[in-house]
């Protein structure tokens, strides 16, 4: 009987401890695992999501990435990224380094076992092309903008970087790309990025550059690239 009680107590304790990690509400998550922040109700330390013991993730690869970028940014797949305006990034130029096979043109019959040194650069490149494409379309025809809509402009800059419309645009980006709402901290980071771009003083079109780079940072995040 004593053993049974000890077992039940153990289960209860483990469940209570794990709950902080199981919480799906990301807006209340701490700044990092093991941060020791006292955010939980009733003084329970919020340790952030529990680490997966198996930690098995996979890189999405060229074909999945292309489809997801096309869907997220509502671009025809063939227009997501073309190198030199001529060659499709996903089916030709970066296909293998992005983790797909290429039997017909390169006799590569199996995907790479690991992401390669240049894979992050190829990812940055294809996402940059896609985000640039979307930003040009949205800023070019604001009336039909998909993500960067309703932004009040002051010349080439945002009229009010803290405006609700800016928050809404960031949130749209997250919902379309990552399938969830942006956390407050994430929105703050994106707004800070705008401030940093303006402070750098090198951009002649800070609003559009910010939109491109916000999109770029979000869609090259690990959450986007791995599953």
């Amino acid at each position: 009987v004593l053993l049974d009680w000890r077992w039940i107590l153990g289960v209860l304790l483990a469940t209570a401890t794990g709950c902080a990690g199981c919480d799906g509400d990301e807006t209340t998550s701490p700044t990092g695992p093991g941060s020791g922040g006292g955010g939980g109700m009733g003084g329970t330390p919020d340790l952030g999501p529990a680490a997966s013991p198996k930690a098995i993730v996979r890189f999405k690869g060229a074909a999945r990435l292309r489809i997801e970028l096309a869907r997220t940014l509502d671009l025809p797949p063939a227009e997501v990224c073309k190198e030199l305006g001529l060659y499709d990034c996903f089916t030709l130029v970066h296909r293998v380094v992005l983790g797909d096979t290429d039997a017909f043109f390169s006799s590569v019959y199996e995907p790479l076992e690991h992401t390669a040194t240049t894979t992050p650069l190829a990812v940055d490149r294809v996402v940059m092309a896609a985000c640039t494409n979307r930003a040009y379309r949205d800023f070019g025809t604001p009336a039909t903008a998909l993500i960067w809509s309703d932004l009040e402009m002051n010349g080439q800059a945002l009229a009010d970087p803290d405006a609700e419309s800016v928050t809404a645009a960031i949130d749209r980006l997250y919902q379309r790309g990552l399938g969830r709402r942006a956390k407050e901290s994430e929105i703050d980071h994106h707004k800070q990025l705008y401030a940093d771009i303006v402070a750098a003083g090198t951009s002649t079109e800070p609003a559009r550059d910010w939109a491109t780079l916000s999109c770029f940072a979000t869609l090259t995040s690990m959450e986007m690239l791995f599953y």
């Binding site: 890189f59 992401t115 650069l121 490149r125 092309a129 951009s203 979000t218």
Partner: protein, 511 residues
């Protein structure tokens, strides 16, 4: 008929003799330079992977018909097609006459010459027999680079990259395919020494920057701000990362993103490695990019780069040169593929690279082997010339070639027999073979092992081994993959004692 193909035989023999005389005089100096270099790195490795099975008795160890037990049924050559000068070199070479290509009749008989290239480089050419262990393409290709798993399964390019490539942007670039592209089996090899696959050399430089050349992309300093936010805030704070924070793949990604790829991008390699001039099919300047300063030279040396039938092997060779010249890589691997390449001379029906490359021997052995050997040796010849003209160290006067090894890796050999008196026939895969290595680092002008001839119909055409210390031919031995691997790696100045590999001094210069 193409005069290049019909080069005067007497001139070739004269060139061979003249070159030999020159080498005899300078032989001492040349050997001393190689010996000093051993163990004193860095050294560079070029794997010329002979996709499909390059048969050594169709190039450097040909058998004359007069030497064969049964010439009618052996893969041998009319005596006049086999060139040699035993007084100056143990190497032979064949200038084969062919009447067909991929089984199709040619308008006229053609001679596929290997001798001009061999005459130029034989002093630094080592031919070593080899008995491999698989006749499956993928398995055999992989074993040709791992020595049959001799050193915990690591490949020669991985060994070279680990020894001499640390800190280089892309220490091990692999443009080859199939088994030649597979990583080694040694999990202890650091990720930076593992091969970077490059299937599209022409456009590969575009993957060396995350934003340059992307139309409308913000400037680099602004991209840096976004990356800082992503790497320092967005990713570490995400529930996804926190949940999978122990993932090896994510750890690798972080390392590659923040260090390895950054090294590549910061080196501005995109401007150094574009090897074609601005052309309509590659309008780099329209996207703010520029060609390498060597682009014009490379397109002269490798005219097939941008021709109508863009030659992938020439593109690989051009990129290989730039990767070595700019010290981007310590090892580069090249290979043709199963795919044919046209655009060759009309006398050969335009076939520059037969379908299946060396494996086209299933269909038409003699022409596939002859054309492919000439093609691979031609690529090596051009690379050697380019590397000789590229300084390694202005102080010592060394060129890049003084520190480079070109190894003709191959899947396996081919079967030795043919139907009686056939000039066009097909061959199968065979474990028995040999390989060619050209380098100042190896025991040049040497033939290690030998080939059976005039003994019996069954034995003729099969190679035999050698004493791995002295290099003396031994008909009772077969050279193993591990011995072969050890000899090459040791010639590159790499200590193999930890791997327990045999010492093979006869394969290294000054050994």
């Amino acid at each position: 008929m193409d005069k290049r193909i019909l080069m005067n035989r007497r001139r070739v023999l004269q060139a061979l003799a003249a070159a030999t005389a020159g080498v005899a005089a300078s032989d001492t100096c040349w050997r001393a330079r190689g010996a000093r270099a051993a163990g004193d790195g860095p050294y560079f490795f070029i794997g010329l992977c002979c996709f499909g099975g390059a048969n050594i008795i169709d190039s450097f160890m040909p058998i004359k018909a007069s030497e064969a037990f049964d010439p009618a049924t052996l893969d041998c050559f009319p005596d006049a097609e086999v060139l040699e000068n035993p007084q100056v070199s143990p190497l032979r070479v064949v200038d084969a006459k062919i009447q067909t290509v991929i089984g199709l009749d040619l308008p006229a008989e053609q001679t596929i010459q290997l001798s001009p290239i061999v005459a130029k480089h034989y002093q630094q050419t080592m031919v070593a027999t080899l008995e491999c262990t698989s006749v499956n393409h993928v398995v055999a290709q992989h074993r040709s680079l791992t020595g049959g798993g001799a050193w915990s399964g690591r490949t020669i390019p991985e060994v070279v990259a680990q020894a001499y490539g640390e800190g280089l942007p892309l220490p091990n670039v692999n443009m080859a395919t199939l088994g030649y592209l597979e990583p080694g089996d040694d999990v202890s090899i650091p990720t930076w020494a593992m091969a970077e696959a490059v299937p599209q050399p022409l456009l590969m430089p575009l993957s060396l920057s995350g934003y340059r050349g992307v139309a409308g992309a913000p400037q680099g300093d602004l991209v840096g701000l976004a990356r800082d936010m992503r790497n320092g805030e967005i990713d570490p704070e995400s529930s996804f990362y926190q949940t999978f924070r122990h993932s090896e793949r994510l750890e690798r990604w972080k390392q590659q993103r923040s260090h390895d790829a950054k090294l590549v991008e910061d080196g501005n390699l995109i401007d150094k490695l574009i090897f074609v001039p601005d052309v309509p099919q590659a309008p780099f300047s329209q996207f703010g990019l520029q060609s390498s300063e060597d682009a014009a030279l490379l397109n002269t040396v490798f005219p097939g780069i941008l021709s109508n039938e863009m030659d992938p092997l020439e593109q690989q060779a051009a990129l290989a040169f730039l990767l070595l010249k700019h010290r981007v890589s310590a090892s580069v691997s090249l290979s043709p593929t199963f795919a044919p390449v046209l655009g060759g001379v009309p006398e050969l029906l335009g076939v520059k690279n037969p379908p299946l490359s060396f494996d086209g021997a299933h269909n038409d052995h003699r022409s596939a082997q002859a054309i492919m050997w000439q093609r691979m040796l031609g690529i090596a010849d051009k690379l050697i010339d380019l590397l000789k003209a590229t300084p390694f160290d202005d102080q010592t006067g060394e060129s890049m070639w003084d520190r480079t090894m070109i190894h003709f890796a191959t899947d396996f050999g081919r079967s030795k027999r043919r139907p009686p008196d056939a000039m066009t026939w097909g061959t199968a895969h065979d474990l028995n073979n040999g390989t060619v290595t050209i380098s100042p680092l190896v025991n040049g002008n040497s033939l290690l092992g030998g080939v059976h001839k005039g003994e019996s119909a069954e034995l003729d055409g099969h190679t035999y081994g050698f004493d791995i210390e002295t290099g003396v031919a031994d008909p009772g031995r077969k050279t193993t993959e591990a011995e072969h691997f050890a000899g090459l790696v040791q010639a590159l100045g790499i200590d193999t004692s930890a791997a327990g590999l045999p010492d093979v001094p006869c394969m290294r210069n000054g050994g």
